[in-house]
Symmetry: C2
Subunit: 198 residues, 2 copies
DNA sequence: GTCTATACGAAGATAGAC
DNA sequence: GTCTATCTTCGTATAGAC
């Protein structure tokens, strides 16, 4: 009935996420987002009165939420190894399908954010924190003490993000696969088997 | 004697490295490099006829060489754990002394390089490769099979770089310390003791 | 090696019409 | 919600004098 909820805003956000991944934060200009999304020029500041900073901040929050959702799904299964493997698989797919041109939007913002609005750094930190928390819960659920679980979770996020960067630079999945194998082995030796298999 | 070798070029390069670390690749503009280094405007294209891309490429190569030098020093001692600890310590110092504003110049270029000259990606990949090679040598020197040594080396580089990014976002050294602790434990359990202690 | 001047484009943001 | 100017600033690059 009546006015369908506008998807212009939605498309701009999705374009911002994609451009952040491939070209970085500073290169994700309003012009480019408009061109990529096909959204009309004149409505940008209508949807994002806070300007470019607001768009980027919301794009980062969206990625943070999306990936956290994946991890929470894995948490429901109670199998930490599966959750971690899914985390690696997600980034691997992104790399391969983009010809090793696309990385992580959150990283892009974290690396380029010193000149921009301070809430951007906070937004990136919040995304990393969500992923770390989700992984820590996963690990703690399999018998690891809380402190170690957190340490291992932060370590896992760092390894994935660092490996994705290396993969882009050398246009190969080898660094991510190396990290996945090492983390997998480490977790196998550290965690006790999931409850369902005892 | 006579004409002292000009240090203008040198200062521009050092400024580029510093700006890449703190503000990213795109934000490392010629204007900013000149302002930071105090170098005269008119001589930029004299020293870097290839323009901004040449400057950035050389800056990345310089960082790559510098860090590789540190790792090679550690390799001379034959103690892999010491080498890895020095690697972590280097980045920790950079983070702390900058108030968690400075990261890795090579990462900045790797993340933002899709729009710029293709040799920039290659330059970043070369830096990562040098570090990975140096660490792999270190690990292989302590009894690890070559393939595993390489895998572990790439993993270590990825963990450090990813952790540095997280540290910047959350303005804390916790992620790097977590990664250092996990890598340290992993290596202790994986490598045999250095030759000197047998 | 260094200086000034300048051309040119891209980017963020705002104003006012529709 | 969308459109068309328009302002301003910044960035790369070149030309030509000194």
């Amino acid at each position: 009935m009546g006015a369908r909820k506008s998807d212009t805003r939605e498309r701009m956000l999705e374009s911002a996420v994609a451009l952040l991944r491939e070209h970085g934060a500073r290169a994700t200009s309003i012009d480019r987002v408009l061109a990529h999304s096909g959204a009309p020029r004149g409505s940008f500041y209508h949807h994002f009165p806070g300007g470019r900073a607001q768009l980027v901040e919301e794009a980062v929050a969206r990625v943070g939420g999306f990936v956290a959702g994946l991890l929470d799904e894995a948490a429901a299964s109670g199998d930490a190894l599966r959750g971690v493997d899914a985390f690696f698989a997600l980034w691997r797919e992104r790399l391969v399908e983009s010809g090793f041109r696309a990385g992580c939007s959150v990283v892009a913002v974290a690396v380029e954010t010193n000149d921009e609005a301070p809430q951007l750094a906070r937004s990136a930190a919040a995304a990393f924190a969500r992923w770390t928390d989700a992984l820590a819960d996963l690990f703690a659920g399999q018998g690891l003490p809380a402190a170690r679980a957190r340490r291992l979770a932060a370590f896992t996020v760092a390894a994935v993000e660092g490996a994705v960067i290396m993969c882009r630079a050398e246009r190969s999945a080898a660094p991510l696969d190396a990290a996945a194998a090492e983390i997998h082995d480490l977790l196998s030796n550290t965690l006790r088997p999931p409850r369902s298999t005892i």
